[in-house]
């Protein structure tokens, strides 16, 4: 299609869709209102299960199947991106000799921030059921911590600390652990992803039942997944070369 034909088609469509959306949005409940039926049900349910962070309770206890699907999407996308970024038939991975220069200030900051970021990440993951945070958020922080080695150091250094196979296996194990926990719930209580572990006291580290363990499993999976994902992109940029 020519560019102008494309525009005509688009503007006709956008006009119609825009009109429909505007008419619909005019009928929406006003912003900041008081009526939230699902909230009225889910907050007491979460407190009843000793999970102060209601969002985590919704994610891992009340609507855990959505989170299983989401974690599986992450798993599938990481494997898919790894498949798409693999070296092709006439390419090989060759590390450059010249690594470039890193500023001293960057090195210092990077090495200082690395343990801090690791601890923050672990904190966000393990306290996900108590304070805002959780497996997904903490997992990304942990993966960033690993890549501070690349920013502050060199690509070679990152590769040494990051054997891709281990991370891939870790991802598989963590992903499987989530489903296995659900299956254990199925066997014990007849409901998949049921909250089977002891509820504990509100505010304790080991409380809210399976929410804690699912959080940790997801944290491990997201960390390994993001590391594997970024390893593919970094390899394409830095080391994959065409070989005749």
């Amino acid at each position: 299609m020519t560019r102008s034909a494309r525009w005509i088609v688009f503007w006709l469509g956008a006009g119609g869709v825009g009109a429909l959306i505007v008419l619909a949005l005019l009928k929406m409940p006003s912003f900041g209102g008081l009526v939230h039926p699902y909230r009225e049900l889910s907050v007491p349910a979460a407190i009843g299960r000793s999970a102060p962070n209601i969002v985590s309770s919704v994610n891992f206890d009340q609507r855990a199947l959505d989170t299983l699907g989401e974690e599986t999407i992450l798993l599938g996308s990481v494997v898919g991106a790894a498949a798409l970024l693999r070296p092709s038939k006439d390419e090989r991975e060759q590390l450059d000799q010249d690594e470039g220069r890193v500023l001293e200030a960057t090195k210092l900051l990077g090495y200082l921030m690395l343990p801090v970021t690791l601890i923050v990440g672990l904190d966000v993951v393990t306290h996900g059921h108590l304070t805002p945070g959780g497996g997904f958020q903490g997992g990304v922080v942990l993966a960033t911590a690993v890549h501070l080695l690349y920013v502050a150091g060199s690509y070679r250094m990152l590769r040494r600390v990051r054997p891709k196979t281990w991370y891939q296996v870790a991802e598989a194990v963590a992903g499987g652990a989530f489903v296995i926990l659900g299956l254990v719930g199925l066997l014990l209580t007849g409901a998949f992803l049921a909250n089977i572990f002891p509820r504990g006291v509100l505010g304790d580290l080991f409380s809210s039942g399976t929410v804690f363990y699912l959080n940790v499993a997801v944290g491990a999976e997201v960390t390994s997944g993001v590391v594997v994902l970024l390893s593919g992109f970094l390899a394409q940029a830095l080391s994959v070369r065409e070989v005749r």
Binding site: G13, K27, G69, L84
Partner: protein, 593 residues
């Protein structure tokens, strides 16, 4: 062995995910044979679980509240899975096709590091979850799971520029559609405060129809219509099928795209069934179905790339399925579902046979393969048979489904012509390739994608492995079996699918599963006659096509066909523009009808 049937839906989702995790964990350390065995075992166990579920649904709808959050006073915070015969049937179909696809990839398919196995198993998990869930946001999540793995599988042959391009346009268009669906879900949540389909349906019944509900309907259906490749959301399907690896095409055509239609019907009946007038839904879906069927059939005849030809025939058949589903009667739904199952077997077998041609000859172009297939033994006879089955030859399942659908929708001429056209196109290709009939085709058109320069999908031995042949035979016999085995379960399932009040009562109030009557789904004399007529027409089209070729046909209808061809440009901006236009058109259709 008595398993509580409510365990089976979650097991259907959990088993493929666990299998994929095991394969991923073993990917770099275990030999290829172990990977193949683990993946195949997972698929077979899933088939068994879904078969048990299908059998259990004959007693009534199976409702599972995940996490044990059973409803109190008609609401719950949890997610509900509701399986009737139709949903369980689709889940079973997904698992069976996956097992056949894995059989085809056994040992020889190019797959370092087991990526394709993991992706196919996760794809199966997405399809099973999509067919069994009754929660709208969960539907979106499993839709995205299906889509994400599909993008990676489509672009798998990274050395081929057209593979990655096809995967990209597929990815962009489907993602945009899914995000519009999510916006619709958000709007519905704002209005009703619920995410489960029965709950939203019950809440909407109280409020009634207005602009907001109409917008939500159009938005939510957009993502599903894109998945179902209904015009004008269909542009991605031909590109994706032309480039995806062969076993993946089997899954796309056989079950992924029909699942989009399942989703459309499920959402529009359960969620909007109480507020949407029958004439509105019926009219809109029928119009969309007719346009899709006609466009798909026309473009199918114009193709020389075999996989693209099969892709357009899938689009045409999806249009026919939608016309049958649009009747919103039990016989229409049952006919459509039987047609889908028969089509899955036949189309899957056809794709695998094209894969065999690619493996043997390195080419999927009808013109380049002219006379090259005369030495084939298996595909020489099965490909024409498959083409006739596609046209609706009795006693194949496609013929039975077509017969019931024709009768229920009344659009007999459309069904006969479209199925004959698609079958005829494939038959024409087979006559040229395997029998060398007709004059050598002239290479005159520049608007169509050629089927040359296709990358080999693996290192296949000269003598085809039994696993590949086995997959083809299983699929084709499956398509035949759908037409021969009594399908009352589907008839009852269709009745139950449309029983909205029963579903709401069972999921929200815990009412026991109600029995529903069935619908006649047997062969009738008129059905047999029309099936034979379509097959005969297909033979005619095949022979005429071989002798007169594309050139004469093109010259006769030059300008409109040229325009239609130019529309399918492979340009992602074009497809996005048609997506937005399509949304406006669907909205207009709902208002007009």
């Amino acid at each position: 062995m008595s398993v509580d049937p409510s365990w089976l839906p979650p097991l259907g989702i959990a088993i493929p995910v666990v299998g994929a995790c095991i394969v991923l964990g073993l990917a770099k350390i275990a030999p290829r044979l172990v990977i193949d065995i683990v993946a195949m075992t997972t698929a077979v166990v899933s088939v068994a679980a879904m078969a048990l579920l299908f059998a259990a649904t004959s007693a009534g709808r199976i409702v599972t509240w995940v996490g044990g959050w059973t409803p109190k006073d008609g609401t719950s915070v949890g997610i509900v899975l509701a399986a009737d015969q139709i949903g369980a049937g689709f889940a079973l179909l997904a698992c069976v096709l996956t097992a056949c696809a894995l059989s085809y990839t056994w040992r020889y398919f190019d797959d370092a590091e087991a990526h394709v196995h993991v992706l196919i198993l996760l794809f199966m998990a997405g399809m099973v979850g999509f067919s069994l869930t009754a929660d709208l946001f969960d539907l979106f999540v499993f839709l995205e799971l299906m889509s994400a793995t599909a993008y990676a599988l489509t672009g798998h042959k990274i050395e081929e520029p057209r593979s990655v391009q096809g995967g990209f346009t597929f990815g962009v268009v489907t993602s945009l559609g899914a995000y519009f669906s999510l916006a619709g879900i958000g709007i519905l949540y704002a209005r009703t405060g619920q995410l489960g389909m029965p709950q939203i349906g019950a809440a909407l019944d109280r409020h009634g129809m207005d602009a907001l509900v109409l917008a939500a309907l159009v938005l939510v259906l957009t993502g599903l219509l894109v998945k179902a490749a209904i015009v004008p959301f269909h542009f991605w399907l031909a590109d994706a099928h032309a480039v995806a690896p062969t076993p993946v095409c089997v899954l796309f055509s056989g079950v992924m795209a029909p699942l989009g239609l399942y989703g459309v019907l499920r959402v529009s009946t359960t969620v909007f069934g109480g507020v949407l007038p029958f004439s509105s839904l019926h009219g809109t879906l029928t119009v969309l179905g007719i346009i899709t069927a006609a466009l798909g059939a026309t473009l199918c005849l114009m193709q020389r790339h075999l996989k693209r030809m099969l892709a357009y025939s899938t689009i045409a058949h999806l249009g026919l399925f939608l016309v049958a589903l649009a009747t919103l009667t039990a016989s229409g739904v049952a006919g459509a579902v039987i047609y889908v199952f028969g089509h899955a077997g036949v189309k899957g077998a056809l794709f695998l046979m094209v894969g065999v041609l690619l493996a043997r000859k390195g080419n999927v172009d009808e013109f380049a393969l002219y006379c090259q297939g005369r030495d084939e033994r298996l595909t020489k006879w099965l490909l024409p048979l498959g083409a006739l089955a596609l046209a609706g030859l009795p006693p194949f399942g496609t013929g039975l489904g077509k017969a019931i659908s024709e009768e229920s929708s009344g659009l007999v001429v459309l069904f006969v012509l479209v199925s004959a056209a698609t079958g005829g196109a494939v038959l024409r290709a087979s006559l040229r390739i395997h029998f060398g009939l007709g004059p050598p085709p002239e290479d005159t058109d520049v608007d169509t994608t050629k089927g040359e320069d296709e990358e080999q999908e693996g290192r296949f031995p000269q003598r085809l492995p039994a696993t590949m042949i086995g997959a083809i035979v299983v699929l084709l016999t499956g398509g035949l079996a759908v037409g021969l085995v009594p399908m009352e379960a589907i008839g009852e399932g269709a009745q139950r699918f449309l029983d909205r009040a029963g579903m709401l009562a069972q999921t929200l109030d815990g009412a026991p599963a109600a029995t529903v009557g069935g619908v006649d789904v047997a062969w009738t004399w008129s059905g047999v006659v029309l099936g034979l007529l379509s097959a005969a027409l297909a033979v005619g089209i095949g022979f005429v096509g071989v002798h007169f070729g594309l050139g004469r046909l093109r010259a006769a209808l030059k300008t409109p066909l040229h325009v239609v061809h130019r529309l399918h440009s492979g340009h992602v901006g074009d497809y996005a523009a048609w997506l937005v236009f399509g949304m406006a058109a669907v909205g207009a259709l709902f208002v007009i009808t």
